[in-house]
């Protein structure tokens, strides 16, 4: 019996053992602002104001933000809410017990979230960019909010003041893959109350926030790519040199 149970457990896991096809809402392309310091800094401000209350980025130190052009005094004066030392990690003020009670789950640490969300559907930045812009009002949810990219998400629409309240229109359609079944297809948003920002401005702000989160997931990325150029140049030279060296030795082999 115990053997059977184990086998069933393994068998139940088997279908999960592969990449299922990526259904779901198509992802928008996040703007690439990885080299625009002002965008990254604005993203950091948004991140600290809107995200860090509930989420931690506990693998990132505040003073790492010097890499995106901020000085330590600037970091201390503008971004330091959850701690008092610039050398501290970006921990959240919320404790896990409260989080579980309020949202049903501890909000995930966001340090490397963008890297984790990459898939064949798009980059992790595309995912977060689309996710943050596809919230809609849904009274059937405990938070009052729902999301197209992450249906029935536990997180409320934190940026709602900026975007305004929107409802989603759905139409019932016949499932093209299964006869006799109906599917719920998204057919556009309907603005209920206006936000502080126009849609264009809102998208741009989210773009900055995502650019920051993308930077945060691998702060060394731009340095890595810059060094890579010189490494490859050196190695190309080495390839050339060793090729000729080898040829000169082999010329005498008859």
């Amino acid at each position: 019996m115990k053997l059977m149970k184990k086998l069933l457990m393994v068998l139940a896991l088997l279908p999960a053992l592969s990449l299922a096809s990526e259904g779901g809402y198509p992802l928008d392309h996040a703007p690439d602002r990885s080299r625009q310091m002002s965008s990254l800094q604005n993203g950091a401000r948004l991140f600290v104001n809107y995200c860090l209350n509930c989420h931690a980025a506990s693998l990132v130190r505040y003073n790492r933000l010097r890499d995106i052009g901020l000085s330590e005094p600037q970091i201390r004066d503008n971004l330091l809410f959850t701690s008092d030392k610039v050398g501290d990690l970006m921990k959240t003020a919320m404790n896990e017990k409260d989080a579980k009670a309020w949202f049903g789950a501890v909000p995930p640490d966001l340090s490397v979230l963008v890297r984790a969300k990459s898939s064949s559907a798009g980059s992790g930045a595309d995912y977060v960019y689309t996710y943050l812009r596809t919230y809609y009002q849904d009274d059937s949810r405990a938070t009052g909010w729902n999301n197209l990219v992450y249906p029935n998400v536990g997180m409320p629409h934190v940026l709602w003041e900026l975007q305004g309240v929107r409802k989603a229109k759905f139409v019932e359609e016949k499932d093209p893959h299964e006869a006799g079944k109906m599917v719920h297809r998204f057919a556009g948003f309907q603005q209920v109350t206006p936000g502080k920002l126009s849609q264009y401005e809102f998208d741009s702000q989210v773009g900055d926030l995502v650019a920051f989160m993308d930077w945060m997931s691998e702060p060394v990325k731009s340095k890595r790519q810059a060094i890579g150029f010189w490494v490859l140049l050196l190695l190309a030279f080495l390839v050339l040199l060793t090729w000729r060296l080898n040829a000169s030795f082999w010329r005498e082999v008859k």
């Binding site: 115990k2 053997l3 184990k6 086998l7 457990m9 393994v10 068998l11 896991l13 088997l14 279908p15 999960a16 053992l17 592969s18 990449l19 299922a20 096809s21 506990s58 693998l59 990132v60 130190r61 790492r64 995930p108 640490d109 340090s111 490397v112 979230l113 890297r115 984790a116 969300k117 990459s118 898939s119 064949s120 992790g124 997931s217 691998e218 702060p219 060394v220 890595r224 790519q225 060094i227 890579g228 490494v231 490859l232 190695l235 190309a236 080495l238 390839v239 040199l241 060793t242 090729w243 060296l245 080898n246 040829a247 030795f249 082999w250 010329r251 082999v253 008859k254």
Partner: protein
Amino acid sequence: MAFHETKLPEDAPVAQKALSWVDDRFPLTKLWNDQWGKYYAPKNFNVFYLFGSLAALVLVIQIVTGIFLVMNYKPDANLAFASVEYIMREVPWGWLVRYMHSTGASAFFIIVYLHMTRALLYGSYRKPRELIWLFGVGIFLCLMAEAFFGYLLPWGQMSYWGAQVIVNLFGAIPFIGPDLSLWIRGDYVVSDATLNRFFAFHVIAIPLVLLGLVVAHLIALHEVGSNNPDGVEVKENLGPDGHGVDTIPSHPYYTTKDIFGVACFLFIFSAVVFYAPEFGGYFLEYNNFIPADPLKTPAHIAPVWYFTPFYSILRATTSQFMYALIIGVLAYGALIMTKTQLPSRQKQAAMGIAVVTAILMLVFDAKFWGVVLMGVSVLIIALMPWIDHSPAKSIRYRPDWHKWVYIVFGISFLILGYLGVQAPTDGRTLVAQICTIIYFGFFLLMPWWSKMGEFKPVPTRVSFKPH
């Protein structure tokens, strides 16, 4: 016998005196000459012959970067994930060391697969090189173990659930399975205990065995001499100096060639390390950037690419496929009965084994046989020296249709690898089953097909065009 100190003239260079002092006490010069300096190798090596030295290079990269990673890594379920990111963010050049190690793992498998392809094409496993091949198979097994144990260490979701799934496979073994997987994990689920023992295996146990096998692989190779793309035994044509007329000393000719290969490899390797370390989710799986969570099974658990051909064979073994396998086993028994010149007692034993296997296939379920097939699919390559009966070693002098056999086998292997990362559908499972049959058919029928057809005359000298 009294110890004899070599006397050098007073004015001999210090380095020469030092070397002489050492040589009197340890065969340093002799080792160098036997293993490389005066190791005469065929002069007609092609690009396939670079992968041996490249594998050695990657082994060194893995060991050196591994040592530096261990200095900052914490094998603790609560700390492991963060310690890897600590290496990526706070340890000076830690990101480079870590990316070299993760890219090195995949590079190792690419190189080893190419190295094995070379052996298959030119019959490098044939007599007298059987032991080189067996040591090589041992190295391949160690490499798989090393990759499997190492993959748990970052303690991401894929690490965790990949290990969970693979360890659970042992649970499918009748009678002892559940206890065996419990014993491997050291807990009822993959946990801190598992992480610690996998760490021990990854950094100490397997590398020790691996290094020993690599040394044995090289000693055996330099004892019997290298094969070559023509499959000609170069030792059968000796020149006045006692070396093969078609051979050249490895140093400097293959030293420079291997260094050129190293430069080319490092260029490609660095391009990946600096510009695409995740390699589209194949070298570093995206899901592994989420810390391991024993309560959340990911929607997709896929093994890393280098395991997927064998993993596909596991998945292809469905209960319907078992009937095909039973027929296959019985037919193979009948083939041995009728188409071999073995003594009748051995024939009867083979048929007996086939019948017993077929009965056991009806008794135990497909899940167990999937695990068996996966294991056998890896181990079966060890038989190569004894199942290849072709009169010519090299593919160059085999019948043309043999090339197609190899091509079909190679494509089946690649398809199995591809299907291993895809979600199974009925159609894909059928394709995987066909490829599984081709995979095993290639090896099991080799004693017959390898000697069929019109062989071309094998020359006595290697074909070589001066550069």
